[in-house]
Symmetry: C2
Amino acid sequence: MELYNYFRSSASWRVRIALALKGLDYDYRPIHLVKKEQNSPEYLETSGTGLVPLLVLDDGTKLHQSMAIIEYLDETFPQPPLLPRDALGRARVRALAQDIACEIHPLNNTRVLGWLKGELGLSEEARNAWIHRWIEGGLEVVDRQLAAQPSTFCHGETPGLADCALVPQIFNAQRFNCRLDHVPHVMRVHAACMSHEAFSSTQPSVCPDAE
Amino acid sequence: MELYNYFRSSASWRVRIALALKGLDYDYRPIHLVKKEQNSPEYLETSGTGLVPLLVLDDGTKLHQSMAIIEYLDETFPQPPLLPRDALGRARVRALAQDIACEIHPLNNTRVLGWLKGELGLSEEARNAWIHRWIEGGLEVVDRQLAAQPSTFCHGETPGLADCALVPQIFNAQRFNCRLDHVPHVMRVHAACMSHEAFSSTQPSVCPDAE
């Protein structure tokens, strides 16, 4: 398999974690988002969407959207499972992952921050207020759920889909100097994940394209 | 079941469509997002997240995040299926839904547009440029995929998860006067959906809280 991704893209990191949890090998194909390589005619031709991450299967099939890719991996390589067996557990894990992937991350990715700075000409202060609003507020929603049903990882004693989403989001929060002392359950789970090799061995700083 | 939702919330409408496709009855509980009822202590207590939609099952279990809710409904009430049987088909449908739910919708929901107007003091022109950028660009990504594998609905000849996401997004696009002539495959699927009762009977204008 080939994974087109960027070391600092948190959606990319989600997939790197899932591949590591499954013990799957892949070729790392860097796409530099800040240099806008994702918008090149070549990558648009390769990807069909211009989005990263993109997983290319051995037969050439192309999959995009990190959560869809992780669910595909979980269905195709079932061990270890990244989603619980029961429908209610799966709904909880998917909702936690989507609380991050649909509510927090889309507001703070490279192209949105680029628009705030470029087209809207926002000051660094106004951009930071924006970032902090969505990350700090969004993580509160996650924390409340982890507090209501505590476990080592987001759901139970083994890492899964929600953890794949959580850890890269905390990396971003720290990079943007967000407040995190109001989300102790999130930070407890984050620490448990970062002591697991699938998370630490795939983090941005150890990627081939790390700067 | 009870569905806490708002007539104009597109994430809410996704769930209304899925419930209608499954032929499931529910009590409609309106939460007025513009009046910020979702932030009331009562609703925060009820929901645990302050988010809509919220589906409360007959035993009191609470589910949030529209795509997680729809997957739960599909697993629990399998007929008619809203996701294909094959893993690659499911990955395609989930990716299409997430192209909308993770890339387009989060940038144009009520609270984000409220921040652009209130905290950032953006003019109507600047807000419209923002809305058009993300909706029109995001729908192009969807259109390219529908063009590559054309069918009556997003995937195949029956409506599913991706259609639940697509139709409410087009409603928003039309409300904000977005250009749509560049996405003919999207509009073809939208027309097919709107001639299906599960979509037309759940649209915002016929909701109990419609204004």
